[in-house]
Amino acid sequence: MISYFVRRILLIPITFMCITFLVYFVMRSAPGGPIEQARQQIMMQDGGGGGGAAGEDLELPQAAIDQLKRYYKLDKSKPHGYLIWLGLAPDEDKGDRFSGIVQGDFGRSYLWSDPVIETITSRFPISIYFGLIGYFATWLVCVPLGIKKALNHRSMFDTGSSMAVFLGYSIPGFVAAMILMLLFSTELIGCDWFPLGGFRSEGWDDMWAKGEVWWCIKDQLHHTFIPIIGYVMGGFATMTILMKNSLLDNLGADYVRTAFAKGLPENRVVFVHALRNSMIPLCVSIGHAIGLMLAGSFLLEKTCNIPGLGLLGFESIVGRDYPVIMGVLVFAVLIKLVGNILSDIVLAFVDPRVRFS
């Protein structure tokens, strides 16, 4: 068992390198890199002044392009550039030192010149906050609902809630959040109850410093409500149905009949014998789901304007901010890989039949 997990952990760097190289390669290959971004910026400024007459004259001088290329390390081949980023090849801009991910140097953002690692670590807790609350809220909603649906299979309640599940399956979380904000954060139907996105209100830190704890908590919850509904909507259908089907399967199992034949009361048979087995597939999904949630939901954070890892990733992709894209990727990949191992550990914990070798 231990050796299995050791092997799994040893596999992390290899998987990590494959994923990051692939993304680096695709990112560098995609059109609209930092040079084009810079060119466009200059064009906008010049175009504003010189009217529509200019056109081809606006092309940057070759020398400037070369300089930019060297600055962004685009003059290097993709594998070379990747190795520099990784810290396994010397970086001539830093005096031929090895300085990359391995050394803990994530580089600086092209757009804001801030160190990438600082940006990420300042935004990570926000994603964790929403991710964890969202995940637990999903469990809190889906597990009881799934159990009730299984116990009342084919009843009115089951059919009715299945329609909600269908709806949840067809509406992505970020769309649900958008609709909710439209309804409850604007004057559209006269119910301007919640803020239009954001993590906290403007003066939150000042209020906190003043000791207005109660106001701060209220404000925080106020901002949390709609995004969390979005998170729950994201996993709602899958998880509810997984719970229901899993329990339904187990209720028909032979050992449930054995438990009844022993004379155990129904509650004990259902909630101890059958439920324990039905939780196995759900527990296994923990690692996967935590990985997804902690790395932040790109679209949900964008719609709700939550300054987490997801929004950062979204903005860095739009702005071709290579170091930030790669930095966010590193975090997402590591969380995902650790999450997968976590899944295995949880599985070994809840299912005695599982033996890794």
Binding site: A253, Y255, R257, T258, F260, K262, G263, H273, R276, D351
Partner: protein, 336 residues
């Protein structure tokens, strides 16, 4: 010993268990009556779909509802009709006065709890004893069914047991409360042939040491019946076709179906060259049973009236019942 001297433990009277399937009614058990006396091993034989398992689950009131329901009849256990009991009262009977062993030892135990947990659970629920007492009782039972190092093996999960050992654990579980009646639903079908005899022997041995339960043994295997049972009922099409002492049944089977079953057994004293006899045709669908004798379509001696009128289960000789128009009591043997 004359049968009338013995006490009746279980009396089934005209039990009917129906299943509603797609708007139609499947009469899985259709008017079954038999008695089980104390200290006896009673066999219930029949092919798949004959209603023998449904009969046993009806006794435990474990018929899933819907789609199943016990339509009518009486199940008297020690004189009390089990069908009159509330769910709570029935729970006190299950696993305590009547317990059950199932066909599939591989799936009949819960994979995520230890053998010990599952053994203790029933003991503690019925006897309200402490955990330590339940543990001792569980160890004792596991020892009784021949599992070495029982106290340690209690901590094992079912997947760490072999099929035979799991069935032993099931027997330990079923007999731990010293029930009056043990229902064994094809207890050896899923096991290796070499293990089958061991398990049957063990079942008989252990019940002697734990309050002498009567056993209702459900099987399709006539060899198992011959080895273990005192009396036997043959089921076909949801109805009892013949009830008899085991020796008499094997010596002079009355019902054509029983005769067919017996002649389809391989016998060492027969010439090896001849092919085994088979019963022609297939079991009629449970959804569309014929109005007359359920076996008429496959019966070698059927007359027109057999397909029209259902014969009654008649006592041919004392203690010997048969459901056939063409069998009479005179001569005792092949009456037709």
């Amino acid at each position: 010993m004359s049968r009338d001297d013995r006490q009746k433990l279980l009396e089934l009277r005209d039990l009917r268990t129906y299943f509603d399937v797609e708007g139609r009614t499947a009469k899985a058990v259709d008017g079954v009556s038999f008695d089980i006396y104390t200290n006896e091993v009673f066999g219930l034989v029949g092919e798949s779909g004959s209603g023998k398992s449904v009969t046993s689950l009806s006794i435990m009131r474990l018929i899933p509802n819907p789609p199943g329901r016990i339509e009518s009849g009486e199940i008297r256990f020690r004189g009390q009709n089990l069908l009159d009991l509330s769910f709570a009262e029935m729970r006190k009977i299950r696993g305590n006065d009547i317990s059950m062993i199932f066909q599939e030892p591989m799936t009949a135990l819960n994979p995520v709890f230890t053998i010990g947990y599952q053994l203790r659970e029933g003991i503690r629920y019925h006897s309200k004893c402490s955990k330590a007492e339940a543990e001792d009782r569980a160890t004792e039972m596991l020892d009784l069914v021949g599992i070495p190092d029982p106290r340690r093996r209690l901590k094992d999960y079912p997947h760490q047991f072999s099929g035979g050992m799991r069935q032993r654990a099931m027997i330990a579980m079923a007999l731990s409360m010293e029930p009056g009646l043990l229902i064994a639903d094809e207890p050896t079908t899923a096991l290796d042939v070499t293990i089958q005899a061991q398990i049957l022997e063990l079942m008989l041995k252990v019940r002697e040491k734990t309050g002498d339960a009567s056993i209702l043994l459900i099987t399709h295997d006539l060899a198992v019946v011959a080895e273990t049972c005192d009396r036997v009922a043959v089921m076909y099409g949801g109805k009892i076709q013949e009830i008899s002492e085991v020796k008499a049944l094997f010596k002079t089977p009355l019902h054509p179906y029983t005769q067919g079953l017996l002649s389809s057994l391989p016998r060492p004293d027969k010439q090896k060259k001849t092919r085994l006899d088979t019963i022609p045709g297939i079991v009629p669908s449970i959804m569309s049973m014929p109005p007359g004798c359920k076996f008429a379509a496959r019966c070698p001696i059927a007359e027109p009236r057999c397909e029209r009128d259902e014969p009654e289960l008649r006592e041919i000789t004392p203690g010997r019942f048969c459901r056939c128009h063409l069998v009479d009591g005179k001569g005792g043997g092949r009456a037709w």
